[in-house]
């Protein structure tokens, strides 16, 4: 068998169902963990990509969230803490035809793995990164994470933390990610749709999912994500649509210069902020990412979605052009430079 990578790819695209993506492994998350929902939406979404399972790879780091690959019936790599993105980068560069998902946590992806996140985002490989943000270290039983709020009391901060949290979505934007979105574990419809958009985007897709850790940080997102209050305290971003929220979308958000303002009971004439996910200008996305409960409804959905050439495509192009210019000949390479004969 050869490495000619296409030789590895099944050509016929089978029709797959949710069940085809379920493994025989017993799921080992705490009952009630938000991870279950994310797994379920992923397994619902995957068949719609019409990609053979053998061409999909899930790569994760270490954490509760990072056990994800064991439960998805594709190729999977449960790597080491914080490094999933580095494996994904190498794999996708070597094998551009594969579909690569990365699952990480707020500790895995932003604490020990923060640097790799920055560089993966700017390189824009065509991979999909899902960061489960439960604002806590779950697997190690409850220390604070880089997304835990200032003053948070945890096992390792009995007096409260003394550092400002990072905003994952803001960091992804600053690093130049071409697709940046946010969703919530319990808003299953929105979550599935967001995962689909992310998977379909060509380039690095970054999705932050607010995920409840009901054991060590229960209710972290209840204030705005609970079913009862959701419509009033979250705003769904849709490209080309004005920002409206509230039970009957009666409220909205407008801009005063570059400052966002909530408009209660905004009539139709109100000059509400219209979302543009496709603009190259990062300012709007930055304004939106600055909106947070309780001052603002929390924005959910796609912040940014633009097209740039991917890292692997640019490299393939260099390989092709180099081959055209100068067909590979190893003998020639061996004999290159100054040579001389000894008889």
């Amino acid at each position: 068998m050869t490495a000619a990578t296409n030789g590895l790819i099944g050509s016929d695209l089978p029709v797959l169902t949710r069940k085809d993506f379920v493994t025989d492994q017993e799921v080992r998350w705490c009952p009630g963990c938000g991870d279950y929902s994310i797994l379920a939406q992923m397994q619902k979404m995957l068949p719609e990509l019409h990609i053979p399972r053998e061409n999909i790879v899930f790569i994760s780091g270490i954490g509760c969230s990072s056990r994800f690959p064991y439960y998805v019936e594709t190729y999977g790599f449960h790597s080491i803490h914080g490094r999933a993105l580095t494996l994904a980068t190498g794999l996708k560069t070597a094998r551009p035809e594969l579909t690569v998902f990365v699952v990480t946590g707020d500790g895995d992806g932003l604490s020990i793995g923060g640097n790799h996140l920055l560089h993966a985002m700017r390189r824009n490989l065509d991979i999909t990164v899902i960061l489960f943000n439960n604002r806590i270290y779950g697997l190690t039983k409850g220390q604070f994470s880089p997304t835990s709020p200032l003053g948070k009391v945890t096992k390792s901060s009995p007096y409260g933390t003394t550092e400002q949290p990072l905003n994952p979505t803001r960091i992804a934007l600053a690093a130049g990610a071409t697709f940046v979105a946010r969703s919530v574990d319990r808003d299953t419809r929105h979550l599935e749709e967001t995962l689909r958009k992310a998977a379909l985007h060509k380039g690095t897709s970054f999705v932050e999912v607010y995920q409840n850790c009901n054991i060590f940080n229960d209710g972290a997102f209840d204030a705005f994500a609970d079913k009862e209050v959701r419509q009033d305290r979250m705003v769904y971003l849709e490209h080309g649509k004005p920002l409206r929220f509230g039970k009957s979308l009666e409220n909205g958000v407008r801009l005063d210069g570059f400052v966002a303002q909530v408009v209660m009971n905004a009539g139709d004439e109100a000059d509400l902020l219209v979302h543009d996910a496709h603009t190259e200008n990062p300012t709007l996305a930055n304004i939106l990412v600055g909106m947070d409960y309780p001052d603002f409804p929390v924005p959910i959905g796609v912040f940014r979605d633009v097209q740039h050439p991917t890292f692997e495509a640019l490299i393939e192009q260099q390989v092709e052009e180099a081959r055209q210019k100068d067909a590979p000949n190893f003998e020639e390479l061996l004999f290159s430079g100054e040579t001389w004969e000894v008889v």
Binding site: E54, T89, G90, R95, L98, L118, A327, F330, F335, E341
Partner: protein, 636 residues
């Protein structure tokens, strides 16, 4: 072949078996170029040779300063030669700083050629000379030849429409011409090279050629040199030769591994001295389908390499000591997931940042043990610049067969040093085999081992029916599911260590140079090959019962190593560290090997090893290095 290069001359011609020359000057004086040009001529002439460049640590130190000195040493001979030589016979010093930093190495009675024009007050001050060494008699021990290179050169270049600076910069061609004359060499090779190099710049070309000729003629006409020397060609194997450095050979060797295996090469690396050249070489070869990836750090570099290995590519990462430390956690993931990849470590002087531009062999134990848990990898080490090519191929041959990471231990001396290399033809090279897992009936077991090699199957994404999951958690043999079963962990650990032990069946037996039994075996590894082998050879020539053997496979050891060790009354292990191979040999074979340790950022001198041999043979008292004790029992 000699005849055509013999040059008529009224000088006495004295024949020598071998000569060592060092060119030294300011970084700006083009000493590396002078050295390479002389090397090429010498190679084409048919001498065997070895060279060693010596760059300053700084990018650009101030002109004329001591840290700014750059040197290039070449040793060439009519018989085969393995090191750039201990003490130069000839030193060319282009300024006071070059003299100050190099005169200490020149052998007593050796020939010293200086550009007297540069020995002015300001240069002497920069070199921290209280008085002018050319006047104060401090050089009495040497034959000093004072040439006003700068001035002579100016005269030769008079009228050329180039700047004074450009004229000054051609001084090195003057010096080159002089030395070529001194050793009865022709200027053809250099003329050819210069003509090509400066074709866009005829004036500079003309300047360099004139300078070259002027230097050559100066030797011929001036009365400064009574004799000139002739070093006849060596009897080297027929074939096509090129000059190659260790880092070049390393890059070429890994390209060869790709060609021989048919697998595309992926190189993930983060720049670091002295390994960066491998990245530079490979990044030029996109046309060979080679994908080089400059990562954000060493951890990302090995992570990406693991990803490429998982994807079924020939996965290579490279670094130097501190970078290997950073890669250790990632390397352990490759050990645990049993993926084939190779890690290049071009060793430099440590610990920590240490002396980045200096050589050392002190990462052997880090390579063996620098990971948590019982984590065993294969370790190979090239012995010379050209050997880098062959050991690179070996590294992947073993890695792919046993599905285990391999560490390739080069060092700054091997990597930057260079030698003539007879270019092999492809069919002289071993085939490299690999097997991707094939679809199976029923469940696929990603940890079902090959009974002969204990290797697990390489199931790469894209293969239908082999969907599976790997990772850093312990896996149950066969199924590959996560397992906390005590017995399983015990057996898996033994299997992981066992794979590496099994590789002994693919490691060539250790060859001994000299008697296969006797008073003393000199055992070494890696870049010290030249000095050790030559020292042992000289000892034999002096009638001593001394053999030498050199390890290029460090883990596992060659199968016959135990027997070889037992065949000698004593074993001497010289290393550029505090005794790392010694520790492994003593632990494994319980032989009371004598360590010889030099940790100075410099290769062994042949004479140092000879002296230590005599000590161990009881032919002299305890031997000390010029700067300290020569034996430590430490090993890190």
């Amino acid at each position: 072949m000699t005849t055509e290069t013999k040059v008529q001359s009224h000088h006495v011609v004295e024949e020598l078996d071998h000569v060592t020359i060092r060119f030294a000057g300011d970084s700006g004086d083009g000493m590396q170029l002078t050295g390479t040009q002389f090397t090429k001529t010498t190679a084409v002439f048919g001498n065997d040779l070895a060279t060693l460049p010596d760059y300053p640590a700084e990018i650009r130190a101030p002109t004329g300063s001591l840290p700014g000195v750059s040197g290039f040493q070449i040793s060439f001979a009519s018989s085969d030669i393995r090191t750039p030589g201990d003490a130069p016979d000839v030193l060319v010093a282009m300024n006071p700083a070059a003299l100050k930093t190099n005169i200490g190495d020149l052998r007593k009675g050796g020939l010293l050629i200086v550009d007297e024009a540069e020995f002015n007050a300001s240069n002497l001050k920069k070199a921290a000379y209280a008085s002018n060494p050319l006047e104060d008699g401090s050089l009495a021990a040497f034959q000093v030849v004072r040439v006003n290179v700068t001035r002579q050169n100016e005269l030769a270049l008079e009228g050329l429409p180039i700047s004074a600076k450009q004229k000054f910069q051609s001084r090195n061609f003057y010096a080159l011409g002089l030395i070529l004359w001194l050793y009865g060499r022709v200027t053809d090779t250099t003329v050819k090279w210069a003509t090509e190099k400066f074709k866009r710049n005829p004036d500079v070309l003309e300047a360099n050629l004139r300078a070259l000729r002027a230097g050559y003629n100066f030797g011929e006409t001036s009365e400064l040199f009574r004799v000139r020397y002739d070093v006849p060609p060596a009897k080297v194997a027929p074939g096509t030769y090129r000059h190659i450095s260790g880092n070049e050979a390393t890059a070429l060797g890994f390209v060869a591994a790709s060609v021989l295996s048919g697998l595309p090469l992926f190189y993930g690396s983060y720049p670091i001295t002295p390994a960066s050249d491998v990245l530079h070489e490979l990044s030029r070869l996109r046309n060979f389908g080679i994908k080089t990836f400059q990562a954000e750090d060493e951890i990302a570099a090995i992570g990406a390499t693991i990803g490429a290995a998982y994807g079924g590519h020939l996965a290579l990462t490279g670094t130097s000591g501190p970078g290997l430390a950073l890669k250790s956690e990632g390397l352990n993931l490759a050990v645990m997931t049993e993926l084939p990849l190779v890690v290049i470590n071009v060793q430099r002087a440590g610990p920590s940042t240490g002396m980045p531009t200096k050589t050392e062999q002190a990462d052997l134990l880090q390579a063996m043990f620098g990971r948590n848990g019982d984590s065993s990898v294969i370790i190979v080490a090239p012995a010379t610049a050209s050997d880098c090519f062959y050991m690179a191929i070996e590294a992947f041959r073993l890695s792919l067969k046993y599905m285990v990471p391999v560490i390739y231990l080069s060092d700054g001396y091997v990597g930057n040093g260079s030698e003539p290399w007879r270019i092999p033809s492809l069919d002289e090279l071993p085939k490299i085999e690999y097997h991707y897992a094939e679809p199976v009936e029923g469940d696929f077991n990603p940890y079902q081992r090959n009974p002969e090699t204990l290797a697990r199957p390489w199931a790469v994404p894209g293969q239908k029916g082999l969907e599976h999951r790997v990772g850093g958690l312990e896996k149950s043999g066969e199924s590959g599911d996560i397992s906390y079963d005590p017995g399983n962990h015990h057996r898996m650990t033994l299997a992981r260590v066992g794979r590496v032990a099994r590789a002994v069946q693919d490691v060539p037996l250790l060859e001994v140079t000299g008697p296969d039994s006797g008073d003393l075996l000199v055992l070494g590894w890696g870049g010290t090959y030249g000095a050790l082998t030559t020292a042992a050879e000289r000892a034999r020539a002096a009638g001593k019962s001394v053999a030498s053997a050199h390890l290029r496979y460090l883990n596992p050891f060659p199968g016959n190593l135990g027997d070889v060790l037992k065949s000698y009354k004593k074993v001497l292990i010289p290393e550029l560290n505090t005794g790392q191979l010694s520790l492994l040999i003593r632990a494994r074979f319980l032989v009371d090997a004598v360590p010889f340790n030099k940790i100075a950022g410099q290769p062994f001198k042949i004479a140092e090893v000879e002296a230590k041999i005599d000590e161990v043979l009881g032919l002299r008292g305890p031997y000390e290095l010029e700067f300290g004790p020569a034996s430590v029992l430490g090993g890190g």
